[in-house]
Amino acid sequence: MTATSPQDRTALVTLRDATVSFGTVRAVRGASLAIHAGESIAVVGANGSGKTTLLRLLHGVVDHSGMRLLAASAPRQAMVFQRPFLLRLSVLNNVRLALWLGDRRLRAEARTDRAMDALRRVGLAGLRDRPARSLSGGEQQRLALARGWAVRPDILFLDEPTANLDPSAKKEVESLLAGFAADGMTLVMSTHNLGQAKRLAGRVIYMDEGRVDLDLLTADFFSVQASKRADLFLKGDLSWSSE
């Protein structure tokens, strides 16, 4: 089953029968889907179902067979990982470095201005000179979000952005993501937290054993028993994590 995509929206990334293999293991099998501008998508599924690999495939950082097509406008992309890797630099320099890697032509002053904007956006401007690795887990995730947001991506991929965070940090991150989405940024995030999917996503992709098993509007996903396995997953998850 597939979500109805508005025809007037541009497909930023399209997968056609894309497969990712690691040795003999096929982490994603024959995925076909399109990500449209302005969407907020949650990718859900059990551990090992291929959520992270699907995100990396969409982001273009894993080898694959099949097709991965980008819009002609070459959308800018960024990804926030579950455990963000921060360099042993200051908070500010981590963001400046991301900007430099994203666009070498950006002048140094503009880099600093945009990095500070990003830090203000996530509430870390006051910690600009702190070593990034001395931040708390929640602050590190916010810094990773700032790093992703600073490059002004058309699509932001997020791999379980609130895993390992306490409820308060989780709430802060969710609130930032809601703000990004409200600004029109396209978000694609994997999550185990179905409550979060309900709150943040307009569309849910359910992964099962590497396959895109369901691709539905959020309301439909939570109301239709479209797949026996998805139903089992929902029941199992809702019992302890639906919030």
Binding site: R56, H59, P84, F85, R88, L89, L97, L101, G102, R133
Partner: protein
């Protein structure tokens, strides 16, 4: 026993009194080994970063060769440089045999594999943690590897200190290509060998104490380096 005690006492007098011959020898040792390590740092860090990410046919053979060169005997390095710089050798026209530059070349050959192999390992380990994320941000493999050298700068300092320790304490290569000429190419290790053979134990001991002190100081610095790392909450989570 008293002869040894007398020698030690004399050695300390030479050190405290700032004996000119002792100071000259120590200064040359530092200059030669320091220069060799600087050159090795440039080539070794770049080569190590490149080897961490490069994919090419025969890569495993190159890595095996690099590991073998880690144990390169200093006399063999000295012999190779001697043959290259001797009058009939391919670089004989340079006319630098039995000069400090020849010693620098020999020690550079000794420590480049050390710097390269250790830098490669540092980068490989760091890329395992964050390589994907740097790539996701737009870093090409070699740039990502170079950034990891910055990220792991304290580990880089440590490996450079290890390389300096290897250079400053070797005797075979500098003896062969330097010739141990007093006031010209005599460094601590060659002077110790010579003075011991002559029976001038105080000077040999004084140089030995300085050499030991240098190595001890390097160890202290290496031991202090990890405290400068910001290994903390992030990695402990």
């Amino acid at each position: 026993m008293s002869a040894v005690a007398d020698s030690i006492a004399t050695a300390f007098r030479l050190i405290i009194g700032g004996d000119p011959a002792l100071l000259r020898t120590v200064a040359l040792s530092f200059a030669v080994s320091g220069t060799a390590c600087l050159i090795a740092a440039v080539f070794g860090l770049l080569a190590g970063a490149w080897l961490a990410v490069a994919v090419f046919p025969g890569r495993r053979v190159v890595l095996l060769g690099l590991d073998t060169l880690l144990a390169l005997p200093s006399v063999v390095a000295g012999l190779v440089v001697y043959l290259a710089l001797s009058r009939s050798g391919p670089l004989g026209s340079w006319g630098i045999l039995f000069t400090p530059p020849a010693m620098v070349i020999a020690q550079t050959i000794l420590v480049v594999p050390v710097v390269t192999a250790l830098a490669r390992q540092v980068v490989v380990d760091a890329l395992r943690d964050g390589g994907d994320q740097l790539r996701s941000m737009g870093a090409r493999p070699l740039l990502g590897a170079a950034l990891m050298l910055v990220h792991e700068r304290w580990a880089v300092v440590t490996l450079l200190l290890i390389a300096f320790g290897r250079a400053v304490s070797e005797v075979g290569a500098v003896m062969i290509v330097g010739g141990n000429i007093d006031g010209v190419t005599r460094v601590m290790t060659t002077a110790i060998a010579l003075e011991t053979s002559k029976g001038d134990l105080p000077l040999a001991l004084a140089l030995g104490i300085v050499l030991l002190a240098v190595v001890a100081l390097l160890n202290v610095v290496i031991a202090l380096v990890p405290s400068g790392r910001s290994r903390a909450p992030a990695e402990v989570r």
